[in-house]
């Protein structure tokens, strides 16, 4: 079932990234994520509640985060500051929000918790349900989306 759960997040991820950055992302193959999950330096974690429960985690390098934030703001990137952190948090919120609407169309009605941003190297995230992940590749870097969901 995990495969069916990650698809809406990848579709929403491609659509939202294209809308906010103006660049089309290429989606790579879905693979099992490691346990624990060892994300890139910038991770955005959202909780899913409702018909499905668990977490969605976006992760990317600091340079990719700064680059995406710069495109989202229509500005020269100024490094990974508070505004950039807020921008990529909102990116996570928008991707998960749009995915939740797609899941709702399959009668899986879900809500989201506000995004938490985790910043730093060598982070290990222990997930209750083994996650699947896939990369969305943009010219300025890779955004990995990991989904760990189970039916409530």
């Amino acid at each position: 079932m995990q495969q069916a759960y990650i698809e809406p997040f990848l579709q929403a991820g491609s659509e939202v990234l294209a809308a906010v950055t103006g660049v089309t992302a290429t989606c790579g193959a879905v693979v099992p994520a490691g346990r624990p999950l060892m994300p890139e330096r910038v991770s955005i974690v959202l909780g899913v509640i409702g018909a499905l429960q668990g977490q969605v985690i976006l992760s990317m390098s600091e340079a990719t985060a700064a680059g995406i934030a710069g495109l989202m703001m229509g500005m020269e990137e100024a490094g990974f500051d508070e505004m950039a952190a807020s921008a990529v948090s909102e990116l996570g919120n928008m991707i998960a929000g749009n995915a939740a609407v797609l899941l709702g169309q399959s009668k899986l009605h879900c809500d989201l918790t506000p995004p938490t941003i985790i910043f730093g190297a060598d982070v290990h995230i222990a997930l209750r349900v083994p996650a699947l992940m896939a990369p969305l590749t943009l010219p300025l870097g890779v955004v990995e989306i990991a989904v760990s969901l189970t039916e409530a």
């Binding site: 939202v16 809308a19 906010v20 934030a69 989202m72 703001m73 508070e82 505004m83 807020s86 921008a87 948090s89 909102e90 919120n93 928008m94 998960a96 929000g97 749009n98 939740a100 609407v101 709702g104 009605h109 809500d111 989201l112 506000p114």
Partner: protein, 119 residues
């Protein structure tokens, strides 16, 4: 030209909304980070129009929408959320919201909603 209140917990969203609105000649008279602040500021600054996010700490945007519309039944409110569920959209419009914008949005979508709400 309208005096507008913005409530969104994300710094980035307040920044982009404010830029879109001010570039179009509007004035952002208050920026709030949660629904409770929005209710308090609404009474204080009496804006022409309010932008409310839905998922916010302290008090969410739908609760703030109900409270603002109770205090002023002429209040013009536009909801702006990443979560555009049918039931959330219906609840907002039933409670008197003028429009429901799903993030991500374009500047054109924002200004179209503003113009319609002010007409």
């Amino acid at each position: 030209m309208a005096r507008i209140l913005i409530a969104d917990d994300a710094l980035f969203m307040r920044f982009t909304l404010k830029r879109t609105l001010t570039q179009a000649g509007h004035e952002v008279v208050a920026e709030c980070e949660n629904g409770q602040q929005a209710i308090e500021k609404y009474g204080e600054v009496q804006p022409d129009l309010v932008f409310l996010d839905i998922t916010m700490p302290e008090l969410d945007g739908l609760s703030a929408l109900h409270a603002i519309r109770e205090s002023d039944d002429a209040a013009r409110v536009i909801m702006c959320s990443a979560l555009g569920h049918g039931n959330k959209v219906r609840e907002a419009l039933d409670a008197g919201a003028r429009d429901f914008i799903v993030k991500p949005f374009t500047p054109e979508r924002i200004l179209e909603a503003v113009n319609k709400a002010l007409a």
